[in-house]
C-alpha cells in the first residue's frame, strides 16, 4: 500500500530535489490560491472569510447590546433593531458557527491527522468554498436590500407574510447548507478510506472523531433544512401555503422540520469544539486521554441522540404532552454524554504535567462554561421549567454559553494551538494570555446577567424592555464591550505574528499529535514521500504499559 503512492508520478517529486516548499509559498499568484484544491489553502481562505463573517456578526451583536443600554429606543428604530438581531443570528449561525471549526480546522487538519495527502474529493472541497461564498453573498445581498426581520428561526407564518426580503436569505441558507454537506461528505469518505496504515479507528485523534461525528450530522440533517427553507421561500414568494395556517397548513410542522435540523446543528457547532478541547487538554497536560473510548463513543452518542430531541424547542408551542415528555427524557441523555466528556477531560489533567499556555487558558474557561451552559441546557429540557424560560433571555444566555463559551473558546484554543502549524510562526504568549483573560471575563460579564434577566422574565427579541431589567442589561452591554476589546486584541497580535512572530519549529508544543509530525507549515502534500506509517496512538505520551501494570483510577 505504501509503495503505491510513490509509484504515482504526480504524488511526490523524485528524491534529491530542493527542500519541498511549504503550502503557503508553493505558488504565490492570486490564481494559485483561488483555484487551489489543496485542503490547507482552502482552509486558510475559509479562515479569512469566516473571520470576516464573524466580524459582521459581531458588529451586529454590539449594536444589539448598545441598543439595550436604555429601556426605550437608544440608537436605532424598532425595524432596524429587528433586522439587526436577525442578521446577527443568521450570520453567526450559518456563516460562522456551523462552518467555522469543520471548514477551517477540519479542512486543514483532518487529512494530516489521518496521514492523507488531501481530502477524498479536493475539487468538491473547493466547490464547497465557492458555495459558501455564493450563499453568503446571496444572504448578504438580501440583508443589504431590505434585510429579514424574522429572527434566524424564520418561524412561519411571520416569515411567509413579512414584507422584508426573506427569500434570498433563505436561498442563501440553502446554498450554504449544500456547501456544508459537501464538506461533511468529504470528511466521512476521507476518514473511511484514506487513513494511513497503522491508524485504526481507535487510534484516530479525537479531533478526527469529533469531525467525523459532526460530518455525519451535517450530511444527514442539512437536507431537511434545505427543503424547509426552499418551501418557506416558495411560500414567501408564491404563497404555496404549506406552512400557512390561513390555508390549512400547520406552522408547528414547520417548527418540527426546522428543529429536526437546527437542533443537530447545535452539535455541528459544538462537537468539533469538543474535539479541539480533547486535543488541547492532552497536548498541554502531556498525558494520554483519560477515557479515550468513552469520549469517542460519547461523540457518536451525541451525534445520534441529537436527532431525537428537537421537540424540546417546542414545549410551549402547542405540542402534545406525550411528545414533550419523550423529547424531554431523551434530552437528558445528551446531558449525560456531555458530562462523560467533561469528566474525562478533567481526568486527563489528573497526574499530568500541565503547561499553562494560551490554548490551555481557553480550556479553563471552556470547562466552566460548558458545564454551566450544558447543565442549563439540560435544565431547559426539564419541561415544567422550560415553560417559564422558553424564549426569554435565559435561553439566549444558555446558548451563548454553549456557542460562545464553548464553541468560540474552543475555536480560539484551536487557533492558538495550531497557529504555528498553519503559519509557521509563534504569537506572543503574554498577549495570548491577556486576550484569553479579557475574553473569559468579558464573557462572564456579558452573559451571566442575561441568565438573571431571563429568570426575571425578560423575553428575547425585545426592542424595548420594561425598566426593571435595565441594570442587568447595562452590565451585559459593558461585558460585550470587554469581549469586543478581547477579540480586537487577539486580532492585532495574531496579525502581527503572521509577519513578525518568532519562527516556529515543526512541533513547538512537544505534542504527540499526528499533525505535528510534518513541517510547520506543512508542505503541499503534507507528508513527503509515501504515505507515512503511524504505529502509536496520537494521545500517548509514555510507552503504554502492559494492561496489568496500568495505573487505573
Amino acid at each position: 500500500m505504501s509503495q503505491s503512492a510513490s509509484s504515482n508520478p504526480a504524488a511526490a517529486p523524485a528524491e534529491g530535489h530542493a527542500p519541498h516548499k511549504s503550502y503557503l509559498t508553493d505558488g504565490t499568484t492570486v490564481r494559485s490560491w483561488l483555484l487551489s484544491v489543496d485542503h490547507k489553502r482552502i482552509a486558510i481562505m475559509y479562515l479569512v472569510l469566516i473571520l470576516l463573517a464573524f466580524l459582521v456578526g459581531g458588529i451586529f451583536a454590539l449594536l444589539v447590546r448598545i441598543e439595550h443600554l436604555s429601556p426605550g429606543p437608544t440608537i436605532m428604530d424598532a425595524m432596524t433593531y429587528n433586522r439587526v438581531f436577525t442578521l446577527h443570528g443568521v450570520v453567526m449561525v450559518f456563516l460562522f458557527l456551523v462552518p467555522a471549526v469543520p471548514s477551517i480546522f477540519g479542512n486543514f487538519l483532518l487529512p494530516i491527522m489521518v496521514g492523507a495527502k488531501d481530502v477524498a474529493f479536493p475539487r468538491l472541497n473547493l466547490l464547497s468554498l465557492y458555495l459558501w461564498i455564493f450563499g453568503a453573498g446571496l444572504a448578504l445581498w438580501g440583508m443589504i436590500n431590505g434585510g429579514a426581520d424574522t429572527g434566524w428561526t424564520f418561524y412561519t407564518p411571520y416569515s411567509t407574510t413579512t414584507t422584508t426580503t426573506v427569500a434570498p436569505i433563505l436561498v442563501g441558507v440553502f446554498i450554504l447548507g449544500m456547501g456544508g454537506i459537501l464538506t461533511g461528505l468529504n470528511f466521512i469518505v476521507t476518514v473511511h478510506t484514506m487513513r494511513a496504515p497503522g491508524i485504526t479507528w481507535f487510534k484516530l485523534p479525537l479531533f478526527v472523531w469529533a469531525s467525523y461525528g459532526t460530518a455525519v450530522v451535517q450530511v444527514l440533517a442539512t437536507p431537511v433544512i434545505g427543503l424547509v427553507v426552499l418551501l418557506t421561500a416558495a411560500d414567501n414568494t408564491f404563497h404555496i401555503g404549506l406552512f400557512d395556517p390561513a390555508r390549512g397548513g400547520d406552522p408547528v410542522l414547520f417548527q418540527h422540520l426546522f428543529w429536526f435540523y437546527s437542533h443537530p446543528a447545535v452539535y455541528i457547532m459544538v462537537l468539533p469544539a469538543f474535539g479541539i478541547i480533547s486535543e488541547v487538554v492532552s497536548a498541554f497536560s502531556r498525558k494520554n486521554i483519560f477515557g479515550y473510548r468513552m469520549i469517542a463513543y460519547s461523540t457518536l452518542g451525541i451525534a445520534f441522540v441529537g436527532f431525537f430531541v428537537w421537540g424540546h424547542h417546542m414545549f410551549v408551542s402547542g405540542e402534545s404532552t406525550l411528545d414533550a415528555g419523550i423529547f424531554s427524557v431523551i434530552t437528558m441523555l445528551v446531558g449525560v454524554f456531555t458530562a462523560i466528556k467533561v469528566f474525562n477531560w478533567v481526568g486527563t489533567v489528573y497526574g499530568g504535567a500541565v503547561d499553562f499556555k494560551t490554548p490551555f487558558a481557553y480550556f479553563c474557561g471552556f470547562l466552566f462554561f460548558v458545564v454551566f451552559g450544558g447543565m442549563t441546557g439540560t435544565a431547559l429540557g426539564v419541561v415544567s421549567l422550560d415553560v417559564h424560560w422558553h424564549d426569554t433571555y435565559f435561553v439566549v444566555a444558555h446558548f451563548h454559553f454553549i456557542m460562545v463559551g464553548a464553541a468560540m473558546m474552543a475555536f480560539l484554543a484551536g487557533l492558538h494551538y495550531w497557529f504555528p502549524k498553519m503559519f509557521g510562526r509563534m504569537y506572543h504568549e503574554g498577549w495570548g494570555l491577556t486576550g484569553a483573560t479579557l475574553i473569559t471575563l468579558g464573557f462572564i460579564v456579558t452573559f451571566v446577567p442575561q441568565f438573571l434577566a431571563g429568570n426575571y422574565g425578560m423575553p428575547r427579541r425585545y426592542y424595548e424592555y420594561p425598566e426593571q431589567y435595565q441594570a442587568l442589561n447595562v452590565i451585559s452591554t459593558l461585558g460585550a464591550l470587554m469581549l469586543f476589546t478581547g477579540f480586537f486584541t487577539i486580532l492585532c497580535y495574531l496579525i502581527y505574528a503572521l509577519r513578525h512572530g518568532k519562527l516556529a519549529t515543526s512541533n513547538p508544543w512537544d505534542s504527540h499529535g499526528y499533525e505535528w509530525r510534518t513541517a510547520s507549515p506543512p508542505t503541499t502534500h503534507n507528508f513527503d514521500g509515501p504515505q507515512p506509517f503511524f504505529p502509536e496512538e496520537p494521545h500517548l505520551y509514555t510507552t503504554k504499559p502492559a494492561p496489568e501494570a496500568q495505573h487505573a483510577v
Binding site: T150, Y155, K287, G291, G351, V382, H551
Partner: protein, 349 residues
C-alpha cells in the same frame, strides 16, 4: 429558599403553579451552579497540582477503571432523570386544566391582547381574573404566532393562528402582573404588553357587574373585533343573524324550498335563467345588485316583488349577507357555531 429566589432573580410568585415549580427551579439552578463550580475548582486544583515542573517531564499512563466509568455515566444520568421526572410531573399538571376552571378567551393580534369572557365583559390588554380560582385561557391569534407569558405565574403558551391552544393558572395573590408576548411577532413585538389584574373574589364579581352595565355599543364593537372565528366565517354568521332581522327569510328559505323568492341554498355560483331569456351566474355582484336594485334582473318564474334595501343595509351588512349566502353554497358546508371550546361571542341582551 427566599434567599435563592432573590439570588436567581426569580419574579414574584403569584400562582399555584409558580409555588409548585419554583422549588425545582431553585434545585436545578443551584445544582447547576454547584456542579460547574465543583468541576471547575477540581480542574483548577489539578492544573495547579499537576503543573509542569520541568521541560521534558514524563507522565504516567492513567486510565479509568470500570467503576469510574460507571460513575461517570450513572451519576449524571440519575440526576438528570430526577430532574426530568419532577419536571414532567409538574408539566402534566399545568397541561391539564381542572374541570371547574373559568374560561377566558384570549386573542393575540399584532400587537395587542384581547380578552373576552363567556359571561360578558371583555378587555384589551387588561385581563381581570379572580384570585384562588382556576382560570383556563383558550387562546388563538389573528395573524402570526404570539406567545402568552406571565412571569409571575410561570406560565407560557404559544398563541397560533387558525387553531386554539390552552393553558391555565390559579392566581394566589391579588395584584397586577405583567403579560408579555414572547414569540417574535414583528415590528412592535416588544410593545405587545398587557397586564393581568388579580382581584379578590367579591371584587371580581363587582367588576363583572360593572362591565355588564357598560354601554351596549361598545360591546358590539368589541364583538366585531374580538371574535375568535376567522373574520370571514364570522361575517357569514353575522349575515345569518341579519337575514332574519332584515326580513329576507319572509320570502327566501335556507332549507332548499322555493318560496316567494329563490332559495338561498346553492344560490351562489348557480346559473340562473332571467326573465329576458339570458342567463347569469350568481356572484357577489349579482346578489348585491338584487338587494339594492331588485327589479334589474329577475330570475324567471319569480314575481318582481322584492323591496330595495338601498340605504337600509350598510355596506358591511350587505357584505355579511352575501357571505352568508355564499356559505350556503352546498348543503354539507357546516355553518353552525362550532362545538368544543370555540369562542362564543358576547351575548347581546
Amino acid at each position: 429558599m427566599d434567599f435563592f429566589k432573590r439570588l436567581l432573580f426569580l419574579p414574584e410568585q403569584a400562582s399555584t403553579f409558580a409555588s409548585k415549580v419554583d422549588e425545582l427551579h431553585v434545585f436545578v439552578l443551584v445544582a447547576t451552579i454547584l456542579a460547574s463550580i465543583g468541576v471547575g475548582v477540581t480542574a483548577l486544583y489539578f492544573f495547579f497540582r499537576f503543573r509542569r515542573r520541568e521541560r521534558h517531564q514524563t507522565t504516567e499512563y492513567i486510565v479509568p477503571t470500570v467503576m469510574t466509568e460507571f460513575l461517570f455515566v450513572s451519576v449524571p444520568f440519575v440526576l438528570f432523570l430526577l430532574w426530568f421526572a419532577l419536571g414532567f410531573r409538574d408539566y402534566t399538571w399545568v397541561q391539564t386544566p381542572p374541570r371547574d376552571a373559568m374560561d377566558v378567551y384570549v386573542l393575540g393580534k399584532q400587537w395587542m391582547w384581547k380578552f373576552s369572557y363567556p359571561e360578558g365583559p371583555n378587555g384589551v390588554n387588561v385581563l381581570h381574573v379572580p384570585a384562588n380560582r382556576p382560570v383556563r385561557l383558550l387562546m388563538t391569534s389573528r395573524d402570526v404566532i404570539h406567545s402568552f407569558f406571565i412571569p409571575a405565574f410561570r406560565i407560557k403558551r404559544d398563541v397560533i393562528p387558525g387553531r386554539y391552544t390552552d393553558t391555565w393558572f390559579e392566581a394566589t395573590k391579588p395584584g397586577t402582573y405583567d403579560i408579555y408576548c414572547t414569540e417574535y411577532c414583528g415590528l412592535s413585538h416588544s410593545k405587545m404588553l398587557a397586564k393581568v389584574v388579580v382581584l379578590k373574589a367579591e371584587e371580581y364579581e363587582n367588576w363583572v357587574k360593572e362591565q355588564r352595565m357598560g354601554d351596549k355599543q361598545n360591546r358590539q364593537d368589541a364583538l366585531a373585533d374580538t371574535t375568535l372565528v376567522s373574520p370571514r366565517a364570522n361575517l357569514a354568521q353575522q349575515g345569518q343573524r341579519l337575514v332574519g332581522e332584515a326580513g329576507c327569510l319572509k320570502c327566501h328559505t335556507v332549507d332548499g324550498e322555493q318560496h316567494i323568492g329563490p332559495t338561498f341554498v346553492g344560490l351562489y355560483g348557480r346559473e340562473e335563467r332571467l326573465e329576458g331569456g339570458e342567463t347569469i351566474t350568481v356572484d357577489e355582484g349579482y346578489i348585491t345588485q338584487s338587494m339594492m336594485v331588485p327589479g334589474e334582473h329577475i330570475v324567471s318564474g319569480f314575481p318582481n316583488v322584492m323591496p330595495t334595501y338601498q340605504g337600509k343595509l350598510h355596506s358591511m351588512e350587505t357584505a355579511a349577507i352575501v357571505e352568508y349566502i355564499k356559505s350556503l353554497r352546498t348543503r354539507d358546508v357546516v355553518n353552525t357555531a362550532s362545538k368544543g371550546p370555540v369562542y362564543e361571542p358576547v351575548r347581546i341582551q
